[in-house]
């Protein structure tokens, strides 16, 4: 397959993300990477569970967490996962404009989530003096939730970069795998959040 066939394919196959060997490699390599990421978050969850009651005289999780805010955040992120599925649906139908639109909505929802998370952290730090340095519980909380937040930031920058870079030229067999694995990453972030919502917030309050 020549460079021209990759950048300007005569017709787009139904699974453009896996049409080239490079695409197949990316697809599989990224799944493996997510396997490693799962271990990374599992280690952070384990640490958090071991330290969640080590409040060092500060506020406990029951006193800190409010489920209303976290529920909104969860809805935002879950919805953004759905919209990224729509984006991939349109990618497979070779409808670049609709893909960009749904990716754009995904980014907006992600930004909303991030805004609430920053507000949440700000709130804890200023209202309750609950910080990374106040207790082992604080260290574990900010590290686990912060790692997830860092993933959200990276994912947003990644998706926006792809959208801007390819805005003018549309879909081809070179960038389709890139869009696809970015959406995989986004789903992974969402799955991790479901666990954070359960383990950190629900189990912290109930």
């Amino acid at each position: 397959m020549s460079e021209q066939d990759v950048l300007n394919p005569k017709h787009m196959p139904h699974n453009p993300e896996k049409a080239t060997l490079e695409g197949k490699n990316k697809f599989m390599g990224f799944w493996f990477f997510l396997g490693g990421e799962a271990v990374l978050f599992a280690s952070l969850f384990g640490t958090y569970l071991a330290l969640k009651d080590a409040t060092n005289g500060g506020k406990s999780s029951e006193e800190l967490f409010g489920l209303e805010l976290v529920f909104i955040m969860t809805m935002l992120l879950l919805t953004s996962s759905l919209t990224s599925v729509y984006a991939m649906y349109h990618m497979k139908n070779n409808d670049f404009k609709k893909m960009q639109l749904w990716l754009g909505i995904t980014v907006v929802l992600g930004l909303g989530f991030l805004g609430f998370e920053i507000y949440e952290f700000y709130h804890y730090i200023h209202e309750y003096e609950f910080t990374m340095r106040s207790s082992a519980f604080g260290s574990a909380f900010y590290t686990l939730v912060g790692f997830h937040g860092g993933h959200v930031v990276f994912g947003l920058l990644w998706i926006v970069t792809l959208m801007v870079r390819n805005a003018k030229r549309g879909l081809n067999l070179y960038n389709a795998p890139k869009f696809y694995i970015a959406s995989l990453y986004w789903h992974f972030i969402d799955v991790v959040w479901v666990f954070i919502f359960t383990v950190v917030y629900l189990m912290g309050v109930l």
Partner: protein, 619 residues
């Protein structure tokens, strides 16, 4: 195309640039070999300094503080910066050839993995020059490591974090390469055992290294940003570090030793002129060891106080690993049985490995008995045990691999006489050094102590151990001399000097940069041997001669790694002076900027046209 012709004569600058930007797995293999060899010498010198300090009672060759830096850096260097990259050197040099691929799945990431490892390794060692290297042991147990003064442990944390990222990338790369890039007919159960072990090792890397990543992050936050994970005063728990470290650390042992098993399996089949006995069982045993490797980490923590239930479970799981390992030992012996054996240097290392490693395995089962471990724990018995498996297993395999694949990597043959001298001196030195350590340990000598007292029955054993260590040093010098001599003589050998069985021997030495002009058709296990037995000279092609797609060189992996290296200093010194944050931001900007360029700039590679391939064949 000019690239085909102009690769022969180049100036120093052009060659340097070529290696800085290369994405060719064979050149990356050479860089891993050189860098890993350098760190092996460094770690070896540290070992000799340790042994010299212990040559006599109450010695004052080094201070206690410096001794702790020596033992810490010896262990860390040997595991992360010598053994791992040397394993990666062979994986890079051999795996794509053995599966009949033209390159790895991600050539760019392959290069990135190397440069991350190298810059991480250098950062780790910068500590020597800035007021003391890491001194909390290679396991860096908290709270010793979190309260260790100075920046030594910070360099340990940042250096390992960067080089660990490189290793993780390398692991993913080989997983995808082996799944997606096998030549036509190369089914899983036809893959050479070295490829199989590389595959399982890569899976172990993928699932083990993230635990270390997290452990190092927690320690970094504790040391540099005031968090309290391991600080009991803030409600922290230092045992978390031990769990995270060993969840990584125990699989790491198998990450190292499985490819070693693979190397020996190749060598033993080649020089017995027999198909590997029990190939299927060998594959099964490899996978089983990989799986069980994740179930046993807490046997490093029997004395922590996890309770009898946990200790029993981990003891039984540990002993279970002896079963697949035993399967392997017997299969190697049965491969020898009735074979037409030729005693070459690689074969000597293999034959030396079997009894040496078995000894290490036996003491492993002894240590696995949790109740008895209370007696062995933190004594020289443990030091003796793990050097028997790591040196007797991994280092023997690396020496064997160097001699076995040197012709493939460089096109010349290491001197056999010198090679055998290397083996015998090293073999004797190795057993002298570590055999007595078991007894020193049983007599109560604790590990990591910088002096011992006279007339406690420890004097003679330590003297013998030191003599042995210097013999290993001499053997290593002979190998270096052998390499220099071979390189100067530069006597070329053909593509198949050992009468090999696997695909890497079906192409010229060193291989052309595209490896296979036409992808080979694999008809069974030991594909080249099958063709030889059918009276053919080489492999049958699986495709007509056509254009070959090749990846572009890139300088970005170097820049990405350099940025993290610079940022490392910022992370460390901002704890004393916040203006160092500027360095942190500059470093991260370099890294993220280079990643951004990589993301937005198309990199489609290029094609070698078949006309050029034909022309080259005629020349």
């Amino acid at each position: 195309m000019s690239t085909l012709v102009a690769t022969n004569k180049k100036g120093f600058g052009a060659t340097l640039w070529d290696y800085l930007t290369t994405v060719d797995h064979k050149k990356i293999a050479i860089m891993y070999l050189v860098a890993g060899g350098f760190f092996f010498i460094l770690g070896g010198l540290e070992a000799l300094a340790i042994r010299w300090q212990l040559v006599q009672p109450m010695n004052d060759f080094v201070s206690a503080g410096f001794y702790h830096e020596l033992i810490t850096m010896h262990g860390t260097t040997m595991i992360f910066l010598a053994a791992m990259p040397l394993i990666f050197a062979f994986m890079n040099a051999v795996v794509p050839l053995q599966i009949g691929a033209r390159d790895v799945a991600f050539p760019f990431l392959n290069s990135l993995g190397f440069w991350l490892f190298l810059f991480g390794g250098i950062l780790l060692n910068v500590g020597w020059f800035t007021g003391g290297a890491a001194d909390a042991g290679w396991t860096a147990y908290a709270p010793l490591s979190t309260i260790s003064a100075g920046e030594g442990v910070d360099y340990y944390v940042l250096g390992l974090q960067i080089s660990g990222a490189g290793t993780l990338i390398g692991g993913i790369n080989f997983l995808v390469t082996i799944v997606n890039m096998r030549a036509p007919g190369m089914t899983y159960m036809r893959m050479p055992l070295f490829t199989w072990t590389a595959f399982v090792t890569s899976a172990l890397i993928l699932f083990a290294f993230p635990a270390l990543t997290v452990g190092l992050f927690l320690m970094m936050f504790d040391r540099l940003f005031g968090s309290g994970f391991f600080d009991a005063a803030m409600g922290g728990n230092s045992v978390i570090w031990q769990h995270l470290f060993w969840i990584f650390g125990h699989p790491e042992v198998y990450i190292l030793v499985l490819p070693a098993f693979g190397i020996f399996s190749e060598i033993i089949a080649t020089f017995s002129k027999k198909r590997l006995f029990g190939y299927t069982a060998m594959v099964f045993a490899t996978v089983l060891i990989g799986f069980l490797g994740f179930m046993v980490w807490a046997h490093h923590m029997f004395t922590v106080g996890m309770g009898p239930a946990a200790n029993s479970i981990f003891a039984v799981a540990t002993m279970a690993i002896a079963v697949p390992t035993g399967i392997k030992i017997f299969n190697w012996l049965f491969t020898l049985w009735g074979g037409r054996i030729s005693i070459t240097t690689p074969m000597l290392w293999t034959l030396g490995f079997i009894p040496s490693f078995t000894l290490g395995g036996m003491t492993g089962v002894m240590l696995a008995a949790a109740t008895a471990d209370y007696q062995y724990h933190d004594t020289y018995f443990v030091v003796g045990h793990f050097h028997y498996v790591i040196v007797g297993g991994v280092v023997f395999a690396l020496f064997a691999g160097v001699h076995y694949w040197w012709p493939k990597m460089f096109g010349t043959m290491l001197d056999e006489k010198l090679g055998k001298a290397t083996f015998w001196i090293f073999f004797v030195g190795f057993h002298l050094t570590f055999f007595v350590q078991h007894f020193l340990g049983l007599m109560g000598m604790p590990r990591r102590y910088w002096v011992y007292m006279e007339n406690q029955n420890l004097d003679l054993g330590n003297l013998i151990s030191t003599v042995g260590a210097f013999l290993m040093g001499i053997a290593s010098i002979i190998l270096l001399y052998n390499i220099v001599k071979t390189s100067i003589q530069n006597k070329k050998v053909g593509g198949d000097p050992w009468d090999g069985r696997t695909l890497e021997w079906a192409i010229p030495s060193p291989p052309p940069f595209y490896n296979f002009k036409q992808l080979p058709l694999v008809r069974g296990l030991d594909p080249l041997w099958i063709e030889k037995m059918d009276g053919r000279k080489g492999m049958t092609a699986a495709e007509p001669l056509s254009d070959i797609h090749m990846p572009n060189n890139s300088f970005l992996p170097f820049v990405i790694s350099l940025g993290l290296f610079i940022a490392g200093f910022g992370f460390i010194y901002q704890k004393n002076d916040l203006s160092w944050l500027i360095v942190l931001f500059i470093g991260m900007a370099i890294t993220l900027g280079a990643m951004f360029i990589r993301s937005v700039k198309d990199d489609l590679g290029y094609h070698i046209h078949k006309e050029d391939l034909k022309k080259e064949a005629e020349e």
